[in-house]
Structure formats: C-alpha cells, structure tokens
Homo-oligomer: 244 residues x 2
C-alpha cells in the first residue's frame, strides 16, 4: 500500500501555512529562572580536518523548556512518560497583552478564557493553551521591586482549574519563567505551577513569538529528549500556523 | 478569521495514523559513539515539598542525535541555522535488512534507491531518507573484529551523492553510530559523513523503530534545541505514519 495522503497535506502546508519558532536560542546568554547557573559550553573535539563536538553542562529547566508533571508534585509523570501523541497539539493563544500593559501583576482569570471562547469557539479537548502577554520582549523579565518581590503576569488557579477540568487541556505555556504571577510566586509560593502539574498536564515556560501565532487553528510541536526520570528539559517548540 | 482546517487534519490523524518514536532514551545507558564519555546526571534540587531539577553534562552527539553540517566540514551550517521548515519532512524508509543479515559490511548503493523507487515511486524533493537495517536491535553495535576494525552497514558515497544531487533530500538517517560502513570508517575515515554534511544536508544517527514505519507516506518530526554555533544535539524524532 502506498498511502501518500499525509504527504499531500504536507504539500498544502507550504502554500497556506507558516512556521513560527516559539523557542529561544540555547546558549549561555539565554534567559532562565533566577536561581539557576548559566549553562557551560565546552569544545572537547575540534579538528581542522573535521570533527567538531560541543559538550554542555546545563540544568533541565533552561531557556524555553518543558516542565514534566514531576517537576513539583512527587510521584507524577517524568519527562520520558509524556507520550509522542502529547507532543503535537492544537494550539490556542489567549492574548492578554493589553491588560498586562495596564497592570504588570495581572492574574489570568476564567473570564479571559470565556471572552476568548466567545470570539473563537470552545477550546478543543487535549489542546495546548498559551498565554500571550508580550512579556518575552522585556529585557528585565524578573522586574524585582525594592523589597525583592518580582512583578510579572501569570496564571490564576481558577483559570488553570477551568482549563484542566472543564477543557481537559494537555498543556499550558507562557512567556515568563514562572507559572504564577511574580507577586504570588514570591509571597505564596509556586501554587499554580504545583496545581497544573499535579493534574498530569505539562507546561512550557519562557516561550517567545506568540504574537506571530493566530488565536486558533495552529498546531504546536514540542520537541525534547526522552530524558529518563527527568523533571523537564529545554524544548524546541514550533507552531504551524494558518497564514492570515 | 477562524481557520480550523489544520485542526480538522489533526483530528483525522487520530483515526488513520499512528505515532512511532524513532529516538532512544536519553540516559547514561544510551548507546553513543565509542569515543565519547557517558553523560552525567546530577540532581541539584530535590525538595520534599516539590521542586525537582536535573543537571546534565553531555556531548552534543549523544544517543539518537542530529549532526549539523558543521559537524565535519568547516564553515557549514550550525544547528541553529537549520530552519523550522526543515524539521518536519516527508519520510522515506528504505529497508535493506535482508542484505545486512547476509553481509554486515553491506554498502548501501544507488541500486537500493532505484529498487525502492520502482515499488513506491520517486523520492520527493526535500525528503528525509532513512536506511532501515535492523542494526539498532543488536546489543553490540560496534562489532569490532580482532584487528580493531568495526563491522556494520552504512551509506556508500554514490548513493549519498544520488540522494543529494538527484533527489535533493534535506536529510538522511540511520541506525548505526556512523554514516559510513564500519570497515570504511575504520580504514578510509568518515568520508560519507563528510560528503553528506558538506551538501548542507543534516543527518540523524542511532535511530530506532524504523521497522514500525511504512516505506512511504509518513512525516518525521525532528526536535532539538536551537543550540547556537553547535555541531548537533540529541534529537527527538517522531514519525506520524499511516496505519497499514
């Protein structure tokens, strides 16, 4: 049997779709959570007649990365337990940039989801929902105040609960380095992050270029090694998007 | 505009297609080229109330990995210069397992391509061509003889030249840790590897599960970090395959 239907779909993508890279560069300059060391790159082999090899020393949550459920709640799935069919998902992008421009401590709420659904239809089951905030364009993403409290937007627990329970999403993603709004992470802890991972969802942090993706109709490809027992890894996220 | 045509394609995949994982586990036990050290995994954070992080020290060519063109020929593209549209490609699998079972030093030739095309049609431009040998199922993939020469199958240069020039492939992949047949790698050097990378193609080594993928009609997703200036990285390769 020679079933080339999928190749025909692929050919159609060349005309009507575009690729958007949602991942940051992987280098010592890449933004990462403030408590981690910079990655180290060595060159163990570099022969003039060819054979050039790098060696990396890097934490599992570096740059644009995936958090497996076990990153916080003990006993939840490790990275190798996320299945291939969870690595390509319908992508919904919910843009709250205007609200964040008015209030950097903005907490993403259930109403933001309902407003989005009124325009674009219900979030399909098994989706990847990304929160677009414009935060990735800031140089200072931590935005510490004089008391050492971070100020950036994030997910509220009611919204995460709605996505996990009512919409049965597979994953969420965002531009800052934390799931929770900075002020909540600094005062109450990583409560939203714990909650969403405890639902066996995964998440992607430090995403970029969400403003190049339409609200509906794209697919996200989340690529990462099958790292045994791992709480996460740097992830390469690509979106295949309808041209608008 | 709400263009959900791609989501409809995605829904169709759930019924008529299957996912096959073409990448090995990423762990210290993972096979890798004989000249590289094992990877090291540390656990810098593991708090009982949650926050579990790994730290990896690993060469760029570890387990199932992508080689960027610059891995051998100087001045060729680094990993970050491989574009998103090169990371999802039509996958052609050419099975030479029977020939390898008769002769472990088998050199993949132009005739193997022509025989395959007679059955399945011409390899489309911009494809990923994988050589299926069954070699990934062997425990001893190096297969050294008493003189320190490795014996395993590989690509012949005329076949690589045909794929690059006549079929304009984007990438090739194989199960052993080298492009060249072991006997050629050990006596003449990595001549085929140098050749195919010098064409600005990339390659994936140490692939598995190619026997679960049909000869034509699948797509391969090759996921890896956008590692700046890098000659390669561990890659997660998934195939979306028509159910047979």
């Amino acid at each position: 049997m020679s079933n080339k239907a999928l190749w025909n779909q692929f050919d159609g993508w060349k005309k009507d779709y575009k690729w958007v890279d949602l991942s940051r560069e992987f280098s010592p300059d890449t933004p990462h959570w403030s408590g981690f060391p910079d990655m180290v790159v060595e060159v163990p082999f570099d022969y003039p007649d060819g054979f050039f090899v790098h060696k990396y020393t890097v934490v599992s949550q570096y740059g644009t990365h995936i958090d497996a459920p076990c990153h916080f709640p003990q006993g939840r799935r490790t990275l190798d337990q996320i299945m291939p069919e969870e690595m390509v998902l319908p992508l919904c992008v919910i843009d709250i940039t205007d609200k964040v421009n008015e209030n950097v401590d903005y907490v993403f709420g259930v109403q933001d989801i309902l407003d989005w659904e009124a325009k674009y239809g219900q979030i399909p089951e098994g989706a990847f929902v990304a929160m677009q905030t414009g935060w990735s364009k800031r140089e200072d993403m931590n935005n510490f105040d004089e008391n050492g409290i971070k100020h950036f937007p994030g997910w509220g627990i009611p919204a995460l609960e709605f996505l996990a329970k009512e919409r049965k999403v597979k994953a969420v993603g965002h531009e800052p380095a934390d799931t929770d709004p900075g002020i909540i992470a600094c005062t109450e802890g990583y409560v939203g992050e714990y909650y969403i991972l405890d639902q066996e969802c995964y998440q992607v942090e430090l995403m970029i270029n969400l403003d190049q993706v339409p609200a509906v109709g794209s697919l996200i490809f989340v690529g990462f090694p099958k790292a045994m027992g791992s709480p996460g890894f740097t992830a390469r996220c690509l979106a295949l998007c309808p041209k608008e």
